[in-house]
Amino acid sequence: MLRYALLRIIGAIPTLLLVIALAFLMVHAAPGGPFDAERVLPPEIEENIARAYNLDESLPQQFLRYLGGLVRGDLGPSYRYRDYTVAELIGNALPLSMQLGVLAMLLAIVAGIAAGLTAALSKNSFVDRLVTGIAMTGISVPVFVVAPVMVLVFAVYLHWLPASWTGGTDISRLVLPVVALALPQIAYIARLTRASMIGVLSSDYVRTARAQGLKTSSIIRYHALKPAMLPLLSYMGPALAGILTGSVVVEQIFGIPGLGQFFIRGALNRDYTLILGIVIVYATLVISLNLVVDLLYGILDPRIRRQ
């Protein structure tokens, strides 16, 4: 197991390098530079700025310089936020995005599994249809519709919760973004849980357990729950990565200074180093979350472990 994990980690290094190289090429291929604006700078000032940020070097030189910095753990200065380094910006933003993402994921898991189980156990009943219906709605209505509506209702009209990140206390400001972020995930997880649970409940070994006279609650707890969670697990790795990297819209709407917002702004501002830094963080997250899921899979399912 440990060897397997190590091999995977070593295998991830070329992937990461490739991602960095591609991202580097792509940001530099995009038209316009980090210091271009409607108000065009005098040429001598453009030269001074290019020199200050080593943008006057050739692309390969810049790439090597960047890699050199990376090896020393230096992600470079931000081209847009000239008072900060990329590492500082990411250092502030990542914990916020993580906090949001993890809370949203927890909420989604608890609410989603509960709803999914309820629906599965009362298959084809009214409750089942209700849960499935709500889940479908949750999946289909995009977050950029749900979130502003929630702000209007709970902040502007009812004044229960703040409309933005800086408008409230630590807890109150988390509620709306976390719920907005969790809603589509709750829906997915509920549907997955329901389908998977129904599948497990109709399998042979559950029927055998029933025939042996076990109570439904013990069947679920000891025999059905674990296998029913397997598809969920393989979903959760990418989902967590998705929630961490995909909170862009929610961060934008609530004005949360998370990683997603910096990613978007970095791209729009051609803040080369900031984009690259965030790409590296995202890539590392996705790679390691996939690894964790694969390892967990082995723990939950002995058949995989043996392979």
């Binding site: 316009g32 000032i45 502030n92 933005s164 709407i253």
Partner: protein, 544 residues
């Protein structure tokens, strides 16, 4: 409790005075009674400032915060009138080349040090030093003797003709008379700098805990992407007159989200008002919606380096005449903008803006004339011209482009294609002057003088995006530049604008307006064409 703790957490780099800590905790836990003692203003700032180092920033947003934190030799009163700020007296030599300033002896930095003429010299030299890579070096000090050579790396920064006669007396020598020089010295890039803290902290000198400023406020916290918090500078020379103790400039790039925050009571002032909500706000909160003229023009530029617009004045004129600007401002933008028939906005000091000759014609006459010109411009009705309009992606720009497209089709039969591009792509395309034909752009005045608009069209100005090159125009601008008699200068400038409009390198569409929501509890808000609203001029009424 959480609130108080989180505040202190963000401020951990800052050596907060114990009293302030206690005050925050009390305010957070104790409720309204204690909170009343401190007056706190929450302002929408729009996008994030790129830096609080006055030499490394250029956006309006950075300027808004910097004007709260620092002060130059001159500044603006609440009504937008230029006044002396860190200087108490100025003498200008007769030829307009020598400026001597006497600083206010009571001026202090936020750490208690005195503000001296040497601080200005240090800042000005740093501004033009190529190593600083300052955006505004040319713009602010380009007329000072040796500045241009220093920026270009041909002379050392010490050669800049700015001299501290003694601690309080500063002498600046210019290459040529610049009638708006005093206005330039209100720009944040010309604020003094606290040398010891820059030498100590280097690039990190503009951060909370490090930044030493000479304005009404000092920097308390900056949570990137969220807010910038400033607090009263007890050492400020005019501290008695400052009413608000603490100001939070909230980063609010999305105007719709910003308005929600305003409506939820989290902001006292917004940076903007979204188009979609403008009419609703006008109806629901007419007394809070502030609309006033702004020194900025929205225009369509022609690429004059390529056909069909190169050497084709009649085509340019006909396209401009076919656009019904009243319909644009009343039906499309609809936020109180003024239709633009000239280049320099109304409200510009000591200036009578010029207009297109056809500005006073009726709509029908104008359209008839436009069709006539269009026919003469080679393209008959059998040879319709097809154009491309490029604009940067935004709903507002798109709506305007759609309207212009349909006006051109209706009046002239011109078919045009709309191409929206991400703003950095558009800027690059405009600069390359290769694929662009008609492009959207805008120009905002840096100081209240016609020169800030007219100089853009000089042939060597980097912001001249059309490729407009006219020796007579440049000649008039040069004459205005060396003219010390303000009335004669005004004549030259007005002549230049007249010529510019006759040549039609651009189609000005409308003059911008300032659009802000200002809570009724905010007092002292003065509408002005530069849209500068120093927090030190504002106060809060007790309405809660």
């Amino acid at each position: 409790m959480n609130h108080g703790l989180s505040l202190i957490k963000h401020h951990s780099r800052q050596r907060l005075p114990i009293l302030a800590c206690v005050a925050i905790l009390l305010a957070a836990c104790g409720g309204a009674q204690d909170a009343k003692q401190e007056s706190v203003l929450n302002r929408g700032l729009g996008a994030e400032p790129e830096s609080l180092d006055t030499h490394k920033a250029r956006t309006n947003q950075a300027g808004d915060v910097q004007r709260d934190l620092g002060e130059g030799l001159t500044g603006y009163a609440a009504d937008g009138q230029l006044e002396l700020a860190a200087a108490e007296r100025v003498e200008v030599s007769e030829d307009g080349l020598q400026y001597t300033f006497w600083l206010r002896p009571e001026s202090k930095w936020s750490n208690g040090d005195s503000v001296t003429a040497q601080d200005f010299v240090f800042s000005f030299r740093r501004l033009v030093n190529p190593a600083t890579a300052a955006f505004y070096a040319q713009q602010s000090l380009g007329d000072v003797v040796n500045a241009t050579e220093i920026v270009a790396g041909k002379k050392p920064a010490d050669d800049l003709a700015v001299e501290a006669i003694d601690d309080l007396q500063l002498k600046i020598t210019l290459n040529n008379a610049v009638p708006y020089f005093l206005a330039l010295l209100s720009h944040p890039s010309t604020f003094p700098m606290h040398r010891p803290s820059i030498e100590l902290h280097g690039d990190a000198h503009a951060r909370p805990g490090n930044l030493v400023s000479n304005g009404a406020y000092r920097l308390q916290a900056w949570e990137v992407g969220s807010y910038i918090e400033i607090v009263r500078n007890e050492h400020y020379r005019n501290n008695d007159q400052t009413a608000i103790d603490r100001v939070r400039h909230h980063i609010t790039p999305e105007d719709a989200a910003e308005l929600n925050r305003y409506r939820a009571g989290e902001l006292d002032i917004t940076f903007s008002v979204p188009s979609e909500a403008f009419q609703q706000m006008r109806k629901e909160r007419p007394n809070e919606l502030r609309v006033s003229p702004y020194l900025a023009v929205y225009y369509y530029g022609f690429n004059l380096t390529k056909p069909p617009f190169r050497d084709n004045l009649k085509l340019r004129q006909s396209l401009s005449m076919a656009i019904d600007r009243e319909t644009l401002t009343e039906k499309v933008t609809a936020r109180g903008e003024a239709p633009a028939y000239g280049w320099v906005p109304p409200g510009t000091n000591n200036y009578e803006p010029r207009q297109f000759l056809y500005a006073n014609l009726s709509k029908d006459e104008r359209h008839r004339k436009a069709r006539e010109l269009y026919r003469e411009a080679v393209f008959g009705e059998d040879k319709p011209v097809s154009l491309e309009i490029r604009y940067n992606t935004s709903q507002g720009h798109r709506r305007i482009a759609l309207a212009v497209q349909s006006m051109w089709r209706e009046v002239l039969g011109v078919e045009s294609t709309l191409i929206n591009e991400e703003s950095q792509v558009l800027i690059e395309n405009i600069r390359m002057q290769d694929v662009t034909q008609v492009f959207r752009s805008s120009w905002t005045g840096d100081y209240n003088d016609a020169h800030t608009f007219l100089s853009v069209m000089e042939s060597d100005n980097p912001s001249n995006l059309t490729g407009f090159h006219n020796d007579e125009y440049d000649g008039l601008m040069d004459k205005a530049a060396v003219q010390t008699d303000p009335r004669v200068r005004q004549v030259f400038l007005e002549e230049a604008e007249k010529l510019l409009l006759a040549e039609h390198p651009v189609i000005p569409l409308y003059f911008y307006v300032n659009k802000n929501m200002v809570s009724l509890r905010v007092r002292g808000w003065g509408d002005n064409v530069l849209n500068y609203h120093y927090s030190q001029h504002l106060s809060l009424a007790d309405t809660d």
